[in-house]
């Protein structure tokens, strides 16, 4: 199993966010994680990358602790939390996915820059490489962050609401890109918008303090449209 979560518990101070959550995701799966606000989706991703320590249970990624394999993860955070005034170009942002390639005197090798440009081309943003990250639209920022996550050829790609606050055209572009990645890496995507992705996903995981796995056929029509009226757990 690429992702093996067993009886996971997590609390912020004394308020529990996740309780007894278990999940197995196989290599190459395209898992969609959904659930209500405050249900623990972002916390779950932070636990998976090792940024938070579980208060109970275990997480294994590729058979190891998350912190040990964190360089094999690509993480796309929510775009709203970034400072638009931060002085960084789009290419420099993507190069943040190649920090391990920095030479001892602190500059990136040409291969890293080539890889960053290739990742930008994948998300159709190569023409913006010299632009300031803060001047991009919300959708372009999201694509630049996806390029940063992809530049290191991760084995697991984690996306936190990558299609929130973007227009439909950008949504389609992101979903098409993820479809191309499907099978090449394991994808876990947190989203509120299930409809466009329902057919392509191989696993559907609802997080609302606990994890519940659904089969596609269990998803009723109105639920698939993004409303939170899930069918009862199996």
């Amino acid at each position: 199993m690429t992702v093996d979560v067993n009886a996971l518990c997590f609390s912020y101070d004394k308020s529990p966010v996740l309780e007894d959550a278990s999940l197995k995701i196989a290599c190459g799966d395209y898992a969609v994680i959904f659930g209500p606000n405050g249900g623990g989706k972002t916390t779950f991703l932070k636990l998976l990358i090792g940024g938070l320590k579980p208060t109970g249970g275990t997480i294994a990624l590729m058979g190891q602790e998350p912190a040990k394999v964190r360089d094999k993860l690509g993480y796309v955070p929510q775009v709203q939390r970034f400072d638009r005034q931060f002085p960084i170009s789009v290419l420099e942002l993507v190069l943040q996915g190649c920090l391990s390639q920095l030479r001892w005197w602190g500059s990136y090798p040409p291969e890293a820059k080539d890889a960053a440009r290739a990742a930008l081309a994948q998300v159709d943003l190569l023409h913006k490489e010299k632009d300031a990250f803060g001047t991009l639209s919300g959708g372009e920022m999201q694509r630049a962050l996806i390029a940063r996550a992809l530049v290191g050829n991760p084995e697991i790609l984690l996306l936190d609401e990558a299609t929130a606050h973007v227009d439909q055209k950008t949504q389609i572009l992101i979903y098409d890109l993820l479809l191309k990645m499907k099978g090449k890496m394991t994808i876990l995507m947190v989203t509120h918008d299930l409809q466009p992705i329902l057919e392509k996903a191989t696993r559907l995981v609802c997080i609302n303090r606990r994890l519940t796995l659904y089969a596609k056929e269990e998803m009723c029509g109105h639920f698939a449209l993004g409303l939170y009226h899930p069918p009862p757990p199996r």
Binding site: R70, P77, F82, P87, L102, G152
Partner: protein, 278 residues
């Protein structure tokens, strides 16, 4: 006699300007990180707590007869200690960070004032430490200041991409196996060294002016960090030169005059932006 003529006749003035320019270089560089990481308050705390170390070393020197210790040594030690404490507070107790930093800020200053008051002899030093006095720079200080400047420049050149990533997105730095805590504290230590350099120029109370204003001004003209830093260094040097010249001509305190020049430049930029946006 104007400043240019005085430079040829007074070696003290040359040393003062040299110290001012050395401080401007590191303040421009580290100010860039202070502004983009939004840690002006943290830098202010380091600057003010430095007074405790300076006062302690002055007290040791005057009452215990330890002649080789100078207030500059105390400044370096206190600045680094403050950076380590603040870094530790930031990493361990994020939710109470502002209160703890404010406590360190006032404790450092209070200790400095007490030690200076307990030290026998003239206490003109207190005003120099608080508000700066470039003419106070000694021969031994110049060597230390240039050494600190070189450390700041070299460390920034080597680790700039790691520092930038930590300032922008600590999670990404963590995923790339960058030791985030180590580099965050190293960044604070480098800021602390810049603070020590700036204390000679504008004093601990006015350090923030030269640390934050040139970098903020530079950031409004470019989105490239390297250009922002280069521009911030130039603006800081300009503030130091103009401020020193004005202070010399008007017989004003140099530290305050330099800070006023920086504030005027900032106000001019603010007014220009306001009028252009109407």
């Amino acid at each position: 006699m104007n400043l240019i003529e005085a430079l040829f006749t007074s070696p003290f003035l040359v040393m003062a300007l040299l110290a001012g320019l050395a401080a401007s270089v590191s303040s421009g560089i580290m100010g860039g990180f202070v502004v983009i990481k939004r840690i002006v308050f943290i830098s202010g705390s380091i600057a003010h707590s430095v007074l405790g170390g300076m006062g302690f070393c002055l007290w040791l020197r005057r009452t215990q007869g330890i002649e080789w210790i100078t207030p500059m040594h105390g400044a370096v030690a206190a600045a680094l200690l403050s950076a380590l404490i603040i870094g530790w507070i930031h990493l361990k107790y994020k939710e109470r960070e502002d209160t703890a930093i404010a406590a360190l800020w006032s404790t450092g200053m209070a200790l400095g004032v007490v030690f200076i008051a307990l030290s026998p002899g003239y206490n003109v030093e207190l005003m120099n430490y608080l508000f700066g006095n470039l003419l106070w720079v000694s021969h031994s200080d110049i060597g230390l200041l240039v050494g600190l400047d070189l450390i700041v420049i070299a460390a920034t050149a080597l680790f700039r991409h790691r520092f930038l990533t930590i300032c922008f997105d600590e999670t990404q730095a963590y995923l790339q196996k960058v030791p985030v805590r180590f580099f965050y504290i190293l960044l604070l230590c480098l800021i602390a060294l810049s603070v020590v350099l700036l204390i000679q120029v504008v004093g601990s109370i006015l350090v923030i002016a030269l640390l934050a204003i040139p970098a903020t001004l530079a950031g409004s003209y470019t989105y490239r960090f390297s250009k922002m830093v280069a521009l911030a260094v130039l603006i800081a040097c300009l503030c130091t030169l103009l401020g020193t010249a004005a202070a010399y001509q008007l017989n004003w305190p140099p530290g305050a005059t330099i800070a006023l020049v920086a504030a005027l430049l900032y106000a001019a930029r603010f007014l220009f932006r306001k009028s252009s946006s109407v």
